[in-house]
């Protein structure tokens, strides 16, 4: 990034188009260029944005973020002297961006026009600024100078991340209404030079923002309200997870549910190479949905990066990095960010297309050899951090993976498995039998359950028997699965009665805890307190020893119990109805006890 700093002020490197293969363009340059530098191809008066991805001698290979139709050899190219950057400042929330952070709502017309780039921020809007730093304070990159309220969220104005070294605050603008480009502070460096700070700064998306004190292991539970995540395979604040699943298994519904319900301050959704109508669903629904904690509309704390499957492929690759960088920006304000990317497979495919045009030797399934490294590098940017002032912030990242042919051994799934700590595998069989969410509770895992700091957090915040109960219910599920296999092989009459009981006890957990109706107002999201209560109740049944005469009796008894539990799931917690169902349930349980 600093390579050409001296040059920037003098003159820009230029070049001429020397070759075109789809969106890979070869540019003959007349000066220094750097890897990942941004350039604009001046195609018939329309600037086409592109990124350098390989340099061979004087030839720079650039991937163009637009269609190259009609482009000719000899066309002038101007290099910008910086990498692909995002603009950071107040006004990012509730925006709809494309993969390069162009504000989609500012574009004219129904169709996207080639070479149309729009400002990600609103320059004329006035923000209510309050100072945080005082003259004389020692500050460095990422430190808070002031604050504006962005849709009710405290948006910190920081010392720009690019500024290295230590500075002294000379002056901070007093509280008042300001535009993003107004100077809100002046700070002096060690040589006494004064620097004016506005509310806007830029940062290259491919670099992680590391202006924090430390990055400890995550330990706090992030509630999602989805029972088979929170109860069985919890994710932490600052954790990483991935959801692989064949098409039609409910990846997107699950992702939407998590983004609506999770205990996060900021939600960033990267719709990366997926269906446009699904993004439209978010555009249509989120402005209507109320955030239960703030009473505001969900869209006010959400930013959407939409680079749908028909939008240019190279920008698809950029879109996940854009989303991550915006997340890191908000994390540095001490906020909890939830970042969802649907789907990282499309991003990997974008990498494959480019690697193919560059004629690199391919890895498995023609993906680039370094796919695994790229994926881990990206996942590692998420996490829980302690900022310089001791405040904590986090990015929880959940990506979906669309495995080719539903095969979980394909390269993208395998690479992601190495990087992500939680695995939520969606099962075709569960989806086929309409058991939603179709997360396979037996195959899925959360590495966080093994972290001592997470275990002690759960002991203190959920209950000291919680972890034991979670592990117990996993065992019941597994034993139930084994029992069912035996029943299928030997027939209903061919196995001892307890096999049926074992099987039905696992069905009980499946129907009551795992399955959840994402379209029901109450059942869609279950708070931790209620999850704990329900799990204990279910385990009470599972622990009980019952008196049955034959296998048909087992099935019909448990069907009744399950039905009763389902009614409870649909009722408001601790409401009159809820308690009435509970009393009925207790009678049912008592009636059959051994």
């Amino acid at each position: 990034m600093n390579l050409k700093c001296d040059m920037e002020n003098n003159h820009k490197t230029t070049g001429k188009v020397a070759g075109i293969i789809a969106n890979l363009v070869i540019v003959e340059t007349n000066g220094p260029v750097s890897q990942n530098e941004i350039c604009f191809i001046q195609h018939q008066g329309v600037p086409l944005m592109a990124e350098v991805i390989k340099i061979l001698g004087r030839n720079a290979y650039v991937q163009v973020f637009e269609s190259t139709r009609g482009l000719k050899c000899g066309t002038e190219v101007i290099f910008e002297g910086h990498m692909l950057e995002v603009t950071l400042g107040p006004g990012i929330l509730s925006k709809n961006y494309d993969g390069l952070q162009n504000d989609l709502d500012k574009m004219d017309g129904v169709f996207l026009r080639r070479g149309e780039y729009t400002d990600p921020l609103d320059r004329d809007k006035r923000w209510n600024f309050t100072p945080i730093a005082k003259p004389g304070d020692q500050v460095s990159a990422g430190d808070w100078l002031g604050e504006v309220s962005e849709n009710g969220m405290p948006h910190k104005i920081m010392v720009p991340f690019k500024m290295t070294g230590n500075y002294t605050v000379k002056s901070v603008t007093p509280a008042g209404q300001h535009k993003v480009d107004d100077t809100i502070a002046t700070i002096t460096d060690e040589n006494g030079h004064a620097h004016k700070i506005t509310m806007v700064q830029k940062w290259p998306v491919k670099m992680a923002i590391r202006q924090y004190k430390e990055k400890p292991r995550p330990f706090k539970l992030l509630e999602t309200g989805v029972r088979c995540i929170d109860t069985l395979n919890p994710i932490t604040e600052g954790g990483t997870g991935f959801i692989p699943g064949p098409f039609g298994t409910g990846k997107t519904v699950l992702q939407h549910a998590i983004s609506k319900q999770a205990e996060a301050d900021i939600v960033i959704i990267a719709a990366c190479g997926e269906r446009a109508n699904e993004v439209v669903e978010v555009f249509t629904e989120f402005p209507e949905l109320e955030d239960p904690r703030t009473g505001k509309k969900l869209i006010e704390r959400t930013t959407i990066i939409a680079n749908t499957s028909n939008m240019p492929v190279a920008a698809r690759e950029a879109s996940v990095y854009t989303a991550m960088t915006l997340g890191e920006y908000y994390r540095n304000m001490g906020l909890r960010v939830l970042l969802m990317a649907d789907s990282t497979s499309r991003w990997a495919q974008a990498l494959r297309e480019m690697s193919n045009r560059l004629e690199e030797l391919p890895g498995p399934d023609a993906f680039p050899m370094d796919l695994s490294a790229i994926v881990s590098n990206f996942y590692s940017r998420a996490g829980y951090v302690i900022l310089n002032n001791g405040v904590s912030g986090s990015i929880t990242f959940i990506g979906t993976v669309s495995p080719a042919g539903g095969n979980l051994k394909e390269p993208v799934t395998e690479s992601t498995r190495k990087a992500a700590r939680c695995f939520y595998g969606l099962s075709q069989a569960r989806a086929d039998s309409k058991r939603y969410p179709a997360i396979d509770a037996i195959d899925s895992y959360s590495k966080y359950l093994e972290y001592p700091e997470v275990q002690s957090y759960l002991d203190h915040h959920v209950g000291d028997t919680w972890l034991t109960n979670v592990i117990k219910s996993k065992d019941i599920l597994l034993r139930g699965k084994e029992a069912r296999e035996q029943i299928n092989i030997l027939g209903d009459d061919g196995v001892p009665l307890e096999f049926h009981e074992r099987f039905w006890k696992s069905e009980l957990i499946d129907f009551v805890i795992l399955q959840q109706d994402a379209f029901d107002k109450i059942d869609a999201s279950t708070p931790m307190e209620r999850q704990k209560y329900m799990l204990e109740k279910v385990l009470e049944v599972a622990d009980a020893s019952f008196d049955f005469d034959n296998f048909e009796e087992v099935g019909s008894y448990f069907k009744q119990i399950i039905n009763q539990f389902k009614q409870i799931n649909y009722a408001e917690f601790n409401s009159e109805k809820f308690n009435a169902y509970m009393t009925e349930l207790n009678t049912m349980i008592q009636s059959h006890l051994n």
């Binding site: 989609l104 439209v280 492929v313 495919q349 297309e353 399934d365 669309s402 209903d492």
Partner: protein, 449 residues
Amino acid sequence: METQAFQKIYTKINNITKATVSLKAANVGYDELALVHGRLGQVVKIMGDDVILQVFSGTEGIPTNAEVVFLSRPPQLKVSEQLAGRFFNAFGDPIDGGPEVEGETRDIGSPSVNPVRRMQPSHLIATGIAGIDLNNTLVTGQKIPFFADPDQPYNQVMASVALRAQADKIILGGMGLSNDDYLYFKNVFDNAGALNRIVSFVNTTDNPPVERLLVPDMALTAAEYFAVDKNEKVLVLLTDMTLYADALSIVSNRMDQIPSKDSMPGSLYSDLARIYEKAVQFPSGGSITIVAVTTLSGGDITHAIPDNTGYITEGQLFLRRDSDIGKVIVDPFRSLSRLKQLVIGKQTRKDHPQVMNAAIRLYADAANARTKLENGFDLTDYDERTLEFAKAYSEQILAIDLNIDTKMMLDVSWQLFRTHFNKAEVGIKQEFVDMYWDEQRVIDLNMNE
């Protein structure tokens, strides 16, 4: 065709492969068309002054000293109301003996719709086929393929869907269509008196395969004209997308690209998405709905073509021959319309979602009973009844030769529930059972409406 005075004519071709030629030429634009020995070709690669052209109709018989003229434009289509009722080839030239179309010239393969300008699809498309309308309801702006084996009557089903769909325009994009099927479509549309609402772009098996690559873009350019300029509801039929993908793999192979899964190009997902994502509901009321056909080989949906398609489209429809009734049915288990939630129970009767789910669940119970029977276990009375239900359900709901409205479909389903099950076994919300279980009451209700 369209050479003009003072155009530079090149006469030295350096390399010729089965699908491409390369030559030295200057000032050539990417994607530009050229005439090579009188055949259309398109620029696919430029390296300095080396230009590689993909020749759509193949390079058989092209000599190294053939004339090459660049046309300075990408593939285009002239659009106007005159398109209606006409048949064209992959290049947009009439093949029905009629005159050239006059109108505005548009580049095909135009940019995408800005996602924030799309509307959520919300209008139901009625087809009269209960396997679709009841279980897998279609919505304007949706894209959905038939996943079918080559021996299944997908083109017939598609033709009936098209004719019943009450679309303002139907655009047929035929790729690798057999001449018989082409004539079939022509006859069906003609007999239905619908020719004036239909525009066809057809590449038959007689034509070179690479020409097919132009068909979807031609069809969709015409579709966008009617949907955007005329605010019409347009239905686009694309058959068969597997043959389109095969043509993509031929070209990528000739270009020495490294193949990914199943010998398909690595860009298959993006290539297919670019086409399917043209399905859209515009804010002005116009819409483009795409119904496509993806033929499978031996029902294998893990092959790269159906697999990538499944991730792009909003559901898929499976056809299956039901040997119990000797008819083709829409498979209720494997078929899915992702957008049905937007209309069922809202634009159709309120009991629609519950009836649909209950019937499919009972049909699944029948499948389990059948497995039990095959494995030699005894059937219970309930099992016997599900089997009887399944047969009647196949016959009266799932068979593709039906043409009834959704209200009728729901009434028939209730009738089947009554005949074979008790109320508790059907497990539908009480308010609907109260309303529709009693036969006489249903008849009264319908009379009053």
